[in-house]
Symmetry: C2
Subunit: 281 residues, 2 copies
DNA sequence: ATGTCTTTGTGAACGCGTGCACAAAGATGG
DNA sequence: CCATCTTTGTGCACGCGTTCACAAAGACAT
C-alpha cells in the first residue's frame, strides 16, 4: 500500500503555514492594484476587504513574514509587494512548459496572468504531429518527442498538464523523469508522483459539483421536495436495498461479469465516457 | 466594513462537513471508472487509493451519508455511485451559462466533464457583438443584452464567469439580479455577492504561485543560496528599511503622489497590466 | 513633552479536520 | 452452528487554522 502521495502534508515549510502561503497571492494581487493607483500605505482592514478575508487573519499571515507594518498607519504598499513577491519566489524567472495544447492548453498559453508574475512559457508541447510548428500565443507548438530535451535545455522545473485524462499519468512520469518537480494538473485524474514532487490539481467539473450540492441544499430548504425520507429511515432503507442487490447477484450465479446490474441506479448511467480508467496497475 | 462575503462559512449543511463534500466528486469519479469496468464491489482501501486519499478518511466521509458498506466485503459500486450522485444533486439536470467566450470560455464550453455530470450548457454569452451568432462547441454565442432573458427562460441557477477581471463584478451583479445563486468565477478578482449566493473561485496563476513557493523552498534547502539572512535578523533589517522609506518620503514633502518610490523593490515592477482595479467603490 | 488616538502584532480559546486504533458486523468455511 | 477472518464504522486524541480581544507601538495634536 501507500501507493504514492498526491499532495505533501507540507511539513511546515519554514514556519509559514500552508494556508497562509495559499493566501499570499491574493494579497499580492490586491497590493499590486493599490500600487498601480499609487496608494502609499494601506491598513490591514482595507487590504483584508480588498482581498476578501478577515483582517485578523491577514495580520497573522503577515506576522509570519516579519514585522512589516507600522502601528497607527498600516503597511507600506511597495515594500509589502516586494516582500511577498520575494517570499513566493516571484523575483526570479520561472520557465514553465504546458503539455496538451487543446482548448484549455491554448487558453493557458494566452493567459496574461502568468507572464506578469515571473512565469515564462518556455514551450508548448502536444502529442498531435499536426499541431507541431503551429503558433499558439506566439509560440510554436513542439512535439512530445522533444519533451525531455526542452525540459533540460530550459531548466524547467514547473510543468502544466492540460492533456486528456488518459495521457496525464504518462506525461507526468516523463516530466518528472526529465527533472520537473512541480506540476499543475488540469486533467481529471489522480497523479502518482515520487516524493519531493509537488502536485496541485485544478478540476473544473469538481467545482461545479460542489456548487450543485449547495444549490440543491438551498432548493431543498425552501421547500422540502426532493428529500423523501428522514436520515435514519434512509440509512435503514439503504441497508435493505443493498442486501436485496446482493441476493439477486448471488441467485444469478455470481460470475465475474455484472449480473444485470439491477439497481435503482440502473436508469442513471448517462452517456459518460470522459472518465478514464483510474490506475489500471 | 463587512463589505460582503466571498465564501460562506458553510454552516454545516445537513451534517455533511464541507471538506467531505469537496471530496465526494473525487470518489464519484473513481467509482464511475470502476463501474465502467463492471467491478461489483470495492473496499475502502482500494477506493481510497484510487481517489488519492486516506482510507479512514474515506470511511468517515461515507459514514456521513449513511451506512452503505458491508463489513467484510466493501461497498457496492453501482449503489454508491447512485447515492453520491444523489447527494451531490447530480441526478437532476443543471442548466448553466458561461459568460465570456474567450479562450477559456471556449475551453469550458468544449469540456466534456460537464455534460457527463448532469450539467448542461444552456447558453454562451459574450459582450463582443462580433461573437454573437458564432457557434462554439455547437452552441451559438449570444450577446450580453440577452443575459437576463436567458437566465429566466432556462431557469438557470449556476453561472460561470470567464470574462476579463474588469468585467467580472458587473457580470456577477447582473447574474445574481437575474436569479443565479451559484457562481464559478475564473476571473482574477474578488467578487462581492449578497448573502445566499455561493461563489467558488478558480485562479490559474495563484496555483502556479503556490507551486513556485514550494519550488523555491526546495531549491533553497538543497543549497542555501538565495536566502541571505536569518529570520530574526531579517525582521530587524526590514523594520530598519521601512523606517528609512518613511523618512525619505517625509523629507520629500509628503505630497499625495509617490515620492520617487525608492525602495529596494523599485527594480521589480515589470510590465503588468492584467490586474484591474480592485473594488474602486 | 505629554496625552490621545489609531492600528499592529499576538496570546489564548475554540472548532474543524485528520488519522489511529479497535470493537462490532457480517461473510466464509468447516 | 461455531470459529475465523475481513472490513466497516467510529470514539478519541491531536494538530492546524481561525477568530477574538487586548496590550504595545507608534503617529499626531497640543
Amino acid at each position: 500500500m501507500a501507493t504514492g502521495r498526491t499532495h505533501r502534508p507540507a511539513t511546515r515549510s519554514r514556519g509559514i503555514p500552508e494556508a497562509t502561503v495559499a493566501r499570499l497571492p491574493l494579497y499580492l494581487r490586491a497590493l499590486t492594484a493599490l500600487s498601480e493607483r499609487s496608494v502609499p500605505t494601506v491598513s490591514s482592514e482595507e487590504l483584508a476587504a480588498a482581498a476578501g478575508v478577515n483582517s485578523a487573519k491577514l495580520r497573522k499571515d503577515f506576522s509570519y513574514l516579519g514585522s512589516y507594518g507600522t502601528r497607527g498607519v498600516g503597511y507600506d504598499v511597495e515594500y509589502l509587494v516586494y516582500q511577498i513577491s520575494r517570499e513566493l519566489g516571484l523575483t526570479q524567472d520561472w520557465p514553465v512548459v504546458i503539455v496538451g495544447i487543446g482548448n484549455l492548453g491554448a487558453a493557458l498559453a494566452n493567459y496574461g496572468g502568468f507572464a506578469s508574475r515571473g512565469f515564462r512559457v518556455a514551450a508548448l508541447i502536444d502529442a498531435d504531429p499536426a499541431m507541431a510548428g503551429k503558433p499558439v500565443a506566439g509560440i510554436a507548438v513542439q512535439h512530445t518527442d522533444e519533451l525531455e530535451k526542452i525540459i533540460k535545455d530550459n531548466g524547467v522545473s514547473i510543468g502544466v498538464i492540460a492533456t486528456p485524462a488518459g495521457a496525464a499519468q504518462q506525461v507526468c512520469d516523463r516530466l518528472v523523469a526529465a527533472g520537473v518537480t512541480s506540476i499543475l494538473n488540469f486533467a481529471p485524474t489522480v497523479l502518482t508522483v515520487p516524493d519531493g514532487v509537488d502536485v496541485r490539481k485544478v478540476d473544473l467539473s469538481i467545482e461545479l459539483q460542489i456548487l450543485a450540492f449547495h444549490e440543491q441544499r438551498k432548493a431543498g430548504e425552501d421547500a422540502g421536495q426532493d428529500d423523501d425520507e428522514s436520515d435514519d429511515a434512509r440509512a435503514v432503507a439503504a441497508r435493505e436495498a443493498r442486501r436485496a442487490v446482493r441476493e439477486v447477484r448471488e441467485a444469478a450465479g455470481k460470475t465475474g461479469r455484472d449480473a444485470d446490474a439491477s439497481t435503482g441506479a440502473s436508469d442513471r448511467k448517462g452517456p459518460d465516457g470522459d472518465v478514464p480508467a483510474v490506475m489500471p496497475a
